[in-house]
């Protein structure tokens, strides 16, 4: 009976906590926060591209110098390997 009472108290406490706890606003932590920080530090239109080294799906290396003098469209996709 004592164990039941203690277990019930624990569950009741969690139930109360469940309704009292606030949810963090979106972007306070984790992935969303990182995305927002990245956007805040993103390049503005007209700014030069910083040095970069990217690999395409075939494993070929691309640098900023390779792209100079060309019109380039770069797209980024989330890998399915997760």
């Amino acid at each position: 009976m004592i164990l039941r009472g203690l277990a019930s108290l624990l569950v009741a406490g969690l139930l109360v906590l469940n309704f009292v706890l606030p949810s963090s606003p979106i972007g306070v932590r984790g992935r969303d926060a990182q995305v927002r920080a990245d956007i805040a530090s993103a390049l503005a239109v007209g700014e030069p591209l910083p040095p970069l080294e990217l690999f395409d799906l075939d494993g070929r290396r691309h640098t900023r110098e390779d792209l100079l003098g060309h019109r380039v469209l770069i797209t980024f996709e989330r890998s399915v390997d997760w």
Partner: protein, 143 residues
Amino acid sequence: MNRLRLYRLVMGSLGVAFFLFGVAMVIAFFLYQRPNSTPLVPTGPVGHYFVAFTGCALIAWAGGLAGAARDPRASRSIGTMTIVVLILMAFIRMVAWVVGDYHAWLGELPRTEASGLLLLALALIWLKPTVSESVVPRVGGKA
């Protein structure tokens, strides 16, 4: 309806629900392996690996719950562990609720689920047969 019958009903219903969830998860894994398939669960190959694992575990848990529904007095530990895991699952949802990323994806769902799981745990705490209720008098002499 007496307490023991209600306990059996709850455990049996949970067993059926978990069995169906488990089978659905295993099927989702196999369906995902088809070329160009749309995943039933919004996750990738690694996620589906864990989905299949969870499905198998749920099927096993369902078997235990069915045993507890058939003979609650002989399967008290299944009831105890079910209560512990229901509380743990609720706690995980509470953490998901606090973390903003999950809230962006699931809205109020983690908190609602946590409340349901905790209420279910509370019900099972009081419905589960006690130790003294589980003692079955033996008829005859040596076993």
